[in-house]
Symmetry: C2
Subunit: 202 residues, 2 copies
């Protein structure tokens, strides 16, 4: 199909499609004339994925490029591909305060015994949250997060199963990305709605 | 205390404190000389709250101003104050696609029977998530979110109880803000760590 048809099929404007192509987020079509290219179903699919990452995940272009590079690399193992995709989705986080970071590390590694990389940004994010609570006069330790850890582990178990079930490496990456980005947005939205609901009925 | 002592007590630079004062995020001190003011414990506390909202919540200045205006208004009922604070924390969300929005509304209002305002941004956020999943070829309805709704309701019940337990209206607002902003960041961080953990052990 031509670029105008790709635009119709995906609901993405031609100008935006050209931007995706220029930035390498969507692979080039098959050249059919000096100024014309032919696109296929794989382009439709890719454009939709990029759109979701932009709209729902609010991801910067560089992060999306890393995700699609991981999808396209046939050399990488499937586990490595999913890992790369996950890392690309991580937010920029400042270093957490060091005292709290040590407490968070001890809690994650020794108490929960979770297998997570020493440089996972979530560690700093938790340390910052802990320092913030203390700054506001709450005398809490990382155990205050235990309830959230239980819920997170429960959700992750089902989410990761859906990634493992996916056929190809590309499908696995897409499943991981969708699981992380789209369902994070679902969880955050529902938590706020639930707070409003519970406040209203109490 | 002087502004230099307020800076020491809070770890916030004098330049940033002056910015907070200028923007009305922190109330002015008691004037003691033409170019000097005296600050008290309530200023320390407010500066710390503003810092948490900036650092953890990444909230724009206008949203923080709405929160502190709600705290300072003695006319508002406590329920209204908490509602205002919640609304100020809501993210800007584009209108969700209308077909999905109707499905989400029916699910929230008739199936879950949640009491949430018709203009709560979470509704559009869910509609966008649903449309995104479909665009990627997943044939799902809002029921796909049921597991997340159950978890969100469970967490909200405990979170709202901590707000209700708070003494003054200002304390209630602060508890609501902390519950929403800080624990949202905790939940998101733990969910990503849990995904990494579960992936590594599967």
């Amino acid at each position: 199909m031509r670029i105008s048809e790709l635009s119709e099929a995906t609901g993405v404007s031609i100008a935006t499609l050209k931007y995706y192509l220029r930035e390498g987020l969507v692979p080039p079509g098959r050249q059919t004339a000096p100024n014309q290219a032919d696109y296929g179903d794989e382009h439709v699919h890719r454009v939709r994925l990029v759109r979701v990452l932009r709209e729902v995940g609010d991801l910067p272009v560089e992060a999306i490029r890393e995700v699609v590079t991981a999808i396209e690399d046939p050399e990488r193992s499937r586990h490595a591909v999913v890992g790369t995709a996950h890392r690309a989705l991580d937010r920029e986080v400042d270093d957490g305060p060091s005292a709290e970071r040590e407490e968070v590390d001890a809690w994650l590694d020794e108490e929960l015994r979770w297998h997570v990389g020493p440089d996972a940004p979530g560690r700093d994010q938790l340390a910052l949250a802990l320092a913030s609570l203390r700054r506001l006069g709450r005398e809490v330790g990382p155990e205050a997060f235990a309830r959230y850890a239980r819920v997170a582990a429960e959700l992750a178990t089902e989410e990761v199963a859906s990634v493992t079930d996916a056929g190809s490496a590309a499908a696995a990456v897409e499943a991981a990305v969708v699981g992380t980005v789209v369902y994070e947005s679902v969880l955050v939205a529902l938590r706020r709605l639930a707070q409003e609901h519970v406040s209203a009925t109490n």
